[in-house]
């Protein structure tokens, strides 16, 4: 196909006009947190890995044993989040794994559940608004009645939180909704309710952020060891002045879920 100068100029002009039109629309910025947003504070240094939160989450949400627990599970030991496990405690191990909260030759626990993002991808991707972010509480909610089972939320979530009931004829999405169904009875998130060490706290995100900053600012305390008067450096780990089993003296890091 040959092209003469007139056609080329016409095409270039039209293309330029198209590009100019496309650049008019501005991408929106990140969304912001509702001022009264509710959330959880998880402190890995306090978690002892008892999984009471996993069991409590299953109980209050009426979830069956997880299929990943084995063929004929006697114990419900979910390995990961699933449509029947909204909350799971995972362990990090390194080398000999003897020291708690230590990167080398240590171990640490981490809670995996919905982060209730400020700008959630699942809400953005859902074509029928089954996934919504509550404008007041900030809870990312799921409406099974509106869901069409497209699993866009499963694909969109960068943390792999929404899970699909692949083994059901009428499947739903399973994810943590911060126990919003219990709020009418005066209860709050079961994982935070049952946590024996205060590793998982529930409250307003602003209050939790204040507490998190306070914990991050804590200096590792010097404590007189019971052995021969030597001084051992220990991390003062808890908000309740409870000494941690960690010997690591560096400060904790924070990871806030912005999205």
């Amino acid at each position: 196909m040959s092209i003469n100068r007139r056609d080329f100029l016409k095409g270039a002009l039209a293309g330029g006009a198209l590009l100019g039109m496309g650049a008019e629309a501005e991408a929106r910025p990140n969304k912001t947190m509702p001022p009264q947003a509710l959330g959880l504070l998880f402190d890995s240094a306090l978690c002892i890995g008892c999984k009471a939160c996993v069991a409590a989450c299953k109980r209050v949400n009426g979830l069956p044993p997880d299929p990943t627990s084995g063929e004929n599970p006697i114990w419900d030991v979910p390995l990961d989040m699933s449509a029947y496990t909204y909350n799971v405690i995972k362990v990090y191990k390194s080398g000999t794994a003897v020291h708690k909260d230590q990167e080398t030759d240590g171990y640490a626990f981490m809670k995996q559940s919905c982060l209730h993002c400020v700008d959630p991808s699942c809400v953005s991707a859902c074509p029928v608004s089954a996934m919504l972010k509550d404008p007041v509480t900030g809870i990312v909610t799921y409406d099974a009645g509106a869901c069409i089972g497209c699993r866009y939320c499963v694909a969109a979530c960068p943390f792999g939180v929404p899970r699909f009931e692949y083994d059901k004829a009428l499947p739903k999405i399973g994810k943590c909704e911060l126990c919003r169904h219990r709020m009418a009875d005066g209860h709050y998130a079961a994982c935070a309710e049952v946590c024996p060490t205060g590793a998982t706290l529930y409250g307003k995100v602003t209050d939790l952020m204040t507490e998190a900053r306070r914990r991050l600012a804590l200096k590792p305390a010097k404590r007189r060891s019971s052995r021969a008067g030597s001084w051992a450096v220990r991390t003062r780990a808890t908000a309740h002045r409870r000494p941690s089993t960690s010997r690591r003296s560096t400060a904790r890091r924070s990871w806030a879920a912005r999205r």
Binding site: G22, Y92, D101, A156
Partner: protein
């Protein structure tokens, strides 16, 4: 959800996050492409012009048939 830990978070299953949220990037892209349906309409127009330019009418056949019918070849 706020999390505190002594071990780096990328070892605990939380990779570093970009400052821009994924939702804002994908929504920005979609809304740019489809804002007021200008771009799809413009693309349709361009395609129409191209199709019209490349269409070969029966009238232009070299056999000199003039306004010949479709079945005549």
């Amino acid at each position: 959800m706020i999390k505190l830990a002594s071990v780096p978070f990328d070892k605990l299953g939380h990779r570093p996050l970009p400052e821009r949220s994924y939702a804002s990037i994908s929504e920005g892209l979609q809304h740019t492409l489809y804002s007021y349906l200008i771009l799809p309409a413009a693309v349709l127009g361009v395609l129409g012009v191209v199709a019209k330019r490349n269409a070969k009418h029966d009238d232009d056949d070299d056999d000199g048939g003039g306004s010949a019918g479709r079945g005549r070849k």
